[in-house]
């Protein structure tokens, strides 16, 4: 909705037609003889060699999975093996021109992609560079192991063994794998060669690779990004989101405001189109595009320069890549490539080929590049047959050597989880503090002091009460919006990599005005409106962080977490540990719990996020908490889901002595905030429920002489129980309150832990007061659905300590609780 772009009826309503240009399909027609002008014989042979290495790798795994032996090496491997037998030529062709600065993100059938890209990088790096990379990786541990496998005078040969061994022992879950075996078959990668993560989630790489391209663009990094996904993934929403996100008009129309030339994202979406999404046949059954290359025309007027290329011919793929890279370099990306291929094996070793005829497979095998490409080289006189036999023998011998060592449990041990039970635990969070990931000046439009919002905040009261203790007008009080804004704007000036985006975050400061004022000082490349693509918003932030940047993304409503489920729960949360700590994930995901907006815009989903290992989750309820927690999240290296509540954005600081400091400060994620001390009952709160708990505490004091200790849990993960238990030991009575639906609420977890840790101190069961297990009804019925002060007192009266003369109205009886559970409501 930028005002600079006029959207007028004359143009929009004018009669016209949409023109398409022809999309090339398998247009390559050169012969090897013709290509000998572009390639030396050695290069042509090395392409063949690389294909054989990839093929042998997959054949080895097939043999181990099905026969428990490969070439005399007996071993077993229980994990997944989504093999790519048949697809090797396409991978080698794609990687051929890529440099280590060009990043490749993989599909979930990616062994060949990884190895091809690594082999290409090995060829391009000097011996010194290769040795330096191998020496510095994990302190040289992998290299030392590889050196023990036999002598070689060639550094490149050493590097080939290095990449094969690191990948295979990763697949075999060994400590010597690239990520200590914690990533496994579908998450192997090796950053120094530009091999970025592949993904067990179909299409998972699309938003992530988009974020990587965003990183390259925003931070002026060399190279481009290749996103490998399969044809089956074109049915996935996040993939379509990523295609659109990467092509957004604003890169060309609005992003010039930082003084740089406008250009498209440097990303090539390459679809390895093997005709099947698992068993579902994409052409003719599950998709409608007929030819996948058609899709580019749906996204941009330049049709994403889409074409179909025959992936069974490595030279055709190289030819296409050469042309596409020129387009990316000219700034006219993104590009879509439909790379035809075929997999001879099943989806995984365990899946039978029930969905296709043997004849079909045989017909493809007859044109297997490993045969046809070899034949074309022989026919062109590049080499004689025995040369190819020599290459095959060398490949097999190397693979056998690697396999023998990777399978050997003494040479390649598993991590010892008995001796060191914290192997994985240590990797769940990086817990580092990095003030800036940037290596350049922060791009801003004006000094911070000139930001009108900063000036406005300077005139506000830092406390909800004036010196006489009277409430300050809300409009004139430093509130939670301001408290989130303050550390954020500072970080924009401190860390040049910081970007923030989400739906409608720019022109009006976000739906809840937290970012109001930021557009005055930040160019579009640092703060921009994303399309309504929650999955890609989060997924791209993950890719942005993987590459070394910091991102703050916003989903507007917590309810939209569902739209980004995979990206939050599988990507953002898991990559730090799956990479054994090699990747950091400094992503803050801001989500807001709505109010007055009904069933799909009012839910507190902290419990969902707290359930997923690998996410830090916090939910500040006061300005003091919001500022300190946002500062910590911004300084950290871990993914944080930052919950906010629309009920309380305008709350001033009512509890912290002295109000909210103007200076920078941090609050540890995991601490608790003791709002008021008391001796008779402990009330634990999450989110906006704090204020209703305070009302209840007031009534308990005034009417029943009970002093409540109110503790706000501004952090759910991690959470330090020490102060909570101390309180429970004192009072013996606990009520836990939040706006999350009661069933499955995180507070049940807290209650269970308190019961275990302080059982003998409890005078009554811990009582959780949550929202009803319903849809959120219209705002008019708020008090029937969300916990009210009365509910808290009802819970105390009925379950903890009867209050003289009190009448319970809302706390269900035992019978009623059972009835509700039985009915699922």
């Amino acid at each position: 909705m930028p005002k600079s772009l006029y959207y007028g009826p004359d143009e929009i309503r004018a009669k016209s037609t949409i023109h398409f240009t022809d999309i090339p399909v398998n247009a390559y027609s050169k012969t090897v003889q013709q290509e000998r002008e572009n390639f030396s014989d050695d290069e042509l042979l090395r392409i063949y060699r690389d294909i054989t290495i990839l093929r042998e790798f997959e054949s080895m795994l097939t043999s181990i999975k099905t026969q428990k032996v490969y070439n005399g090496v007996e071993t077993t491997y229980p994990g997944p093996a989504h093999l790519s037998v048949g697809q090797e030529a396409a991978c080698v062709g794609q990687a051929y021109l890529m440099t280590p600065n060009d990043y490749q993100f993989g599909s979930h059938r990616s062994h060949s992609e990884i190895l091809a890209k690594a082999l290409s990088s090995i060829q391009k790096l000097s011996d010194e560079e290769l040795l330096k990379i191998m020496e510095s990786f994990l302190g040289g541990a992998t290299l030392r192991a590889v050196e023990k496998m036999g002598k070689t005078d060639s550094v490149k040969e050493l590097a080939i063994r290095f990449i094969l061994y690191g990948t295979l022992s990763e697949i075999f879950a060994r400590k010597t794998g690239f990520h200590m075996g914690l990533g496994g078959s579908m998450h192997a990668f090796f950053l120094p060669f530009g091999v970025y993560p592949n993904n067990a989630i179909v299409g998972g790489s699309a938003p992530i690779a988009t974020g990587a391209a965003l990183y390259k663009k925003c931070n002026d990094k060399k190279g481009f990004v290749v996103c490998n996904i399969g044809d089956g993934s074109l049915g996935c929403g996040p993939v379509l989101e990523a295609l659109n996100f990467a092509c957004m008009d604003q890169f060309h129309t609005l992003w010039g405001d930082d003084g740089r030339d406008v250009s498209g994202l440097p990303i090539l979406f390459n679809i390895f189109n093997n005709g099947y999404g698992m068993g579902g046949q994409t052409k003719g059954e599950t998709m409608a595009y007929d030819m996948l290359a058609r899709l580019g025309a749906g996204f941009t007027p330049n049709q994403m320069h889409s074409e179909r290329v025959d992936g069974f011919n490595p030279l055709a793929v190289i030819d296409a890549m050469r042309r596409k890279l020129e387009i990316l370099k000219s700034g006219d990306g993104p590009v879509l490539l439909d790379t035809l291929t075929y997999r001879f094996c099943g989806h995984s070793v365990s899946v039978q080929n029930a969905y296709r005829e043997k004849d079909e497979i045989n017909d493809w095998m007859a044109v297997d590049p490993i045969i046809t490409y070899r034949r074309s080289l022989v026919e062109a006189g590049v080499a004689k047959d025995d040369k190819f036999e020599e290459i095959l023998a060398e490949t097999k011998e190397r693979m056998t050597n690697i396999c023998r060592h990777a399978a050997d449990k003494e040479f390649s041990p598993y991590a010892d989880m008995t001796a060191d039970p914290m192997v994985v635990e240590r990797l769940m969070f990086s817990n580092e503090k990095v003030n800036s990931f940037g290596d350049q000046e922060s791009r801003v439009l004006a000094p911070k002091e000139e930001c009108p919002r900063v000036q406005q905040i300077a005139g506000k009261s830092r406390s909800a009460f004036d010196e006489a203790g009277k409430p300050v007008s809300k409009m004139k009080t430093f509130n939670i919006r301001d408290a989130i804004f303050e550390p954020l704007i500072d970080k924009f000036y401190e860390d040049s990599t910081l970007v923030a985006y989400g739906e409608d975050v720019r022109d009006w400061g976000g739906a809840f005005a937290v970012y109001r004022g930021l557009p005055d000082v930040l160019p579009h490349s640092r703060l921009f409106n994303a399309p309504i693509s929650e999955a890609c918003i989060v997924g791209s932030a993950v890719g942005y962080a993987m590459c070394g940047g910091r991102a703050v993304v916003e989903l507007m409503y917590a309810d939209f977490i569902g739209r980004a489920g995979d990206e939050i729960f599988n990507q953002m949360s898991k990559w730090q540990a799956m990479s054994a700590g090699i990747l950091k994930m400094p992503v803050i995901l801001r989500v807001s719990v709505g109010s007055k907006y009904g069933a799909q815009h009012s839910q507190d989903w902290t419990s969902l996020c707290a359930h997923i290992p690998g996410l830090k989750v916090c939910f500040p309820a006061t300005p003091w908490e919001a500022k300190g927690l946002m500062q910590t999240a911004l300084d950290g290296t871990d993914p944080v889901v930052f919950f906010e509540s629309q009920r309380i954005y305008d709350m001033g600081e009512m509890f912290h002595e002295g109000g909210v400091p103007k200076e920078k400060y941090s609050i540890e994620i995991g601490d608790v905030n003791v709002i008021q001390e008391g001796k008779d009952v402990t009330i634990l709160t999450v989110g906006a429920a704090l204020y209703r708990a305070m009302d209840a505490a007031k009534e308990l004091k005034e009417k029943y002489g009970m002093e409540a200790e109110v503790i706000n849990l501004h952090s759910l993960v991690p959470l330090n129980y020490e102060r909570i238990i101390e309180s429970v030991k004192k009072t013996g009575r606990v009520v836990l309150v939040s706006d999350a639906c009661q069933r499955g609420s995180f507070l049940n977890d807290v209650a269970a832990n308190i019961t275990e840790l302080a059982f003998d101190y409890l005078d009554a069961p811990c009582v959780v007061v949550g929202a009803r297990n319903w849809i959120t009804p219209p705002f008019e019925f708020d008090s029937y659905f969300f916990p009210q002060p009365k509910w808290i007192i009802d819970a105390i009266h009925t379950r903890i300590v009867p209050l003289p003369g009190y009448v319970n109205e809302t706390q269900p009886s035992d019978v009623e609780m059972i009835r509700r559970a039985k009915a699922g409501v």
Binding site: P471, S473, K474, M475, K476, N479, R481, W508, G509, F512, A513, R516, S595, K596, Y597, Q646, Y649, D650, K679, D680, K701, E702, K703, Y704, G705, M706, G732, F759, D760, Y761, L762, D763, A764, T798, R799, I800, V801, P802, P804, G805
Partner: protein
């Protein structure tokens, strides 16, 4: 008739807005759609368009004022028209008073209903909260004796506290109606303590003392005597130095006991069983010694045959051995009578507990200044207390008292006793 223009509601959560700047003045002619003023919420700035046509008759709020949504901000009409009805309440002040500021209700401290009524129904199983159970265990009371006032008849902490306060279980039905002092009354600071397991010797003492008090008919006579003589003698001994200088007042009491006791054979005896008394030919004098591990009672065998100096030396040796733990167990049995000396601690009288199977024990107390009449004069003298506990099954009060009386006389004339 004049019409009002209101402060629009600029968003679903907006309750009030601040007027940025008035662009029109009183007297200006305006049309519908003309911009009257700018206003802002915390999120954004807006322009307020006029919803009326005419002359601005009055403006109720100024630049910078905070105005609740839907409040009239100005009046528009024909010049001269009345607009008093349109004036909003509190227009002069931007800060509308909050409705919440009601007078606080008085705390219900004067509530007249019974509070500690039992919530348990007859026949209910007794339920005790973990906290109440833990407290009851520590305090050594029976939690189930408490009146349950928790939900569903559960005994909770305050119930056990009440039980502890009252010292006895109170039946719910018998409890009179009391003004509600709950629950503040229940909140007594938790007692601080540590539980220490008995050592072997402590267990032995406990067993022996319990047996003593639960099987015997013990009573105690308290006497005192003028300690002038023994104090004087003590002074002489001290002046003499050497081993003699170590002779204490306690040693003198032991000596006197050893010389007095043989005349009262029922006190120098053991109860072998309920019907048999074993009288000893000599005085085997048990001496209670405080050791780091607890009370020990080594025996001075045949004390009646030993001199004061011998007794003094032997007591020191035995006490040292007992304290260091090196004492032979044989020396810890065989006593016919025991002396327990708490004199140095200032005890004025006490009821020592008989060391079974003996029949009596003498407690030696501290010296206090008392007055007595002597030759018509009131005179201060140092009085030392002696408390004799004896087993009434074996000894009657008269002989027991006679023994102490004679003992007192011997001590008052201590040098004479020595001469005997």
């Amino acid at each position: 008739m004049a019409k009002a223009v209101i402060m629009p509601k600029a968003g679903i959560t907006v309750e009030s807005c601040i007027i940025g700047k008035w662009l029109k003045n009183v007297g200006d002619e305006v049309k519908v759609g003309d911009i009257l003023y700018t206003y802002e919420t915390d999120k954004a700035s807006f322009e307020c368009e006029s919803t009326e046509e005419g002359t601005i008759l009055a403006i109720f709020f100024n630049d910078g004022d905070e105005v609740p949504c839907f409040t009239n901000v100005c009046a528009i009409g024909k010049p001269g028209e009345n607009f008093d009805d349109l004036k909003p309440a509190g227009a002069a002040s931007a800060e509308a008073p909050k409705a919440e500021e009601k007078a606080p209700e008085a705390p219900a401290q004067a509530e007249a209903r019974p509070a500690a009524e039992s919530t348990a129904k007859p026949g209910d199983e007794i339920k005790v909260s973990p906290r109440a159970k833990a407290l009851a265990e520590k305090a050594g009371v029976n939690a189930s004796d408490a009146t349950a006032t928790g939900p569903d008849g559960r005994i909770i902490e305050r119930d056990v506290r009440k039980l502890m306060e009252e010292g006895a279980p109170v039946k719910a039905a018998a409890e009179p109606a009391k003004p509600a002092a709950e629950p503040a009354k229940a909140e007594i600071p938790a007692p601080e303590f540590e539980d220490v397991k008995f050592s072997g010797i402590r267990k032995a003492i406990a067993r022996s003392m319990t047996q003593s008090l639960s099987t015997m008919a013990q009573l105690t006579n308290h006497h005192s005597f003028d300690a002038t003589a023994i104090q004087a003698f003590r002074k002489e001994c001290k002046a003499a130095g050497g081993d003699v200088g170590g002779i204490t007042l306690g040693d003198m009491v032991l000596y006197a006991v050893s010389r007095t006791l043989l005349a009262f054979p029922d006190l120098n005896a053991n109860m072998v069983d309920d019907t048999t008394l074993r009288r000893f030919k000599h005085v085997n004098l048990g001496v209670a010694v405080d050791t780091p591990r607890g009370l020990m009672v080594p025996t001075i065998f045949n004390a009646d045959t030993k001199s004061l100096l011998e007794i003094s030396r032997e007591v020191k040796t035995l006490a040292e051995a007992a304290r260091s733990g090196a004492i032979s167990p044989d020396l810890l049995t065989g006593g016919s009578f025991t002396v327990s000396n708490l004199g140095s601690t200032g005890v004025e009288m006490f009821t020592p507990v008989i060391n079974p199977p003996q029949t009596a024990i003498l407690g030696v107390c501290g010296i206090t200044q008392r007055v007595k009449e002597e030759n018509g004069q009131i005179k201060l003298y140092p009085a030392m207390g002696l408390s004799l506990t004896y087993d009434h099954r074996a000894v009657d009060g008269s002989p027991a008292s006679k023994f102490v009386k004679e003992l007192c006389q011997n001590l008052e004339k201590f040098t004479l006793l020595l001469a005997k």
